[in-house]
């Protein structure tokens, strides 16, 4: 089980701050795109440009997920 966190337009479109999901053993960050897109078709376009975090660090697509990870789905940022 991992915790997925949604931000900005993703949070607004899914109406969710976060959700817990089951992942396959050896799943990688990039596998979440398909998984999340299937569950929330409304954010598929946004998923094309999303970045990921695991914990408080940006995570490359190939990062292996493990039970208990907190994964952020991060749309392009616009702070400042």
């Amino acid at each position: 089980m991992i915790t997925l966190k949604f931000f900005g337009p993703l949070r607004e479109l899914t109406k969710l701050d976060e959700v817990e999901i089951e992942i396959q053993e050896n799943a990688r960050v990039e596998d979440l795109v398909g998984l999340v897109g299937e569950q929330y078709p409304g954010i598929r376009d946004h998923l094309k440009v999303v970045s990921f975090s695991v914990g408080n660090e940006y995570a490359p697509k190939g990062t292996k997920l493990k039970d208990g990870d907190t994964v952020g789905l991060l749309p392009p940022i616009s702070g400042g």
């Binding site: 966190k5 931000f7 900005g8 337009p9 949070r11 440009v49 970045s51 975090s53 408080n56 660090e57 940006y58 490359p60 952020g72 991060l74 749309p75 392009p76 940022i77 616009s78 702070g79 400042g80």
Partner: protein, 142 residues
């Protein structure tokens, strides 16, 4: 000092925080909510942060800035929540012995915030509301 806050940013308090008698230069950068965007009149802006990660990234920027320049004191504060036009959304104060370093360090900090800190803003205009087109974050500070 590093903070995310949903209260008005107190620039006087920030300047007090970087008080240091060995520093001959203090640069204060304030980012504010503009009243226009692509020909539209802006009435307000919402700022949303991934708080834990944003604080960690601000801390990384501060560490990197202090590593690259002789910074004696530094404060970075970013707002969250609803801001009106003219309100300060981000404040960075850097104190250094000399001005060249203070300007460069402050410039590096704000540029890197825009590239690495997970914060999103939504603007409210006469044409409706929309998330501001952002940039794909870069993983590391440079």
């Amino acid at each position: 000092m590093i903070a995310l806050t949903d209260s008005k940013i107190d620039t006087e308090a920030i300047l007090s925080d970087v008080e240091d008698s060995a520093s001959g230069a203090v640069v204060l950068f304030l980012g504010r909510v503009r009243d226009h965007s692509e020909g539209m009149q802006i009435s307000a802006m919402d700022y949303e942060a991934y708080s834990d990660m944003a604080v960690a990234k601000l801390k990384a920027i501060q560490d990197e800035t202090k590593f690259k320049w002789p910074v004696s004191r530094m404060v970075m504060v970013h707002r969250t929540g609803r801001l009106a036009v003219g309100e300060v959304s981000v404040a960075i104060a850097v104190a250094c012995p000399h001005r060249k370093d203070a300007f460069e360090a402050c410039r590096y900090a704000i540029d890197t915030i825009k590239k690495t800190v997970p914060i999103w803003k939504k603007e409210y205009t006469d044409g409706g509301e929309s998330w501001v087109k952002g940039v794909i974050p870069t993983a590391e500070t440079e």
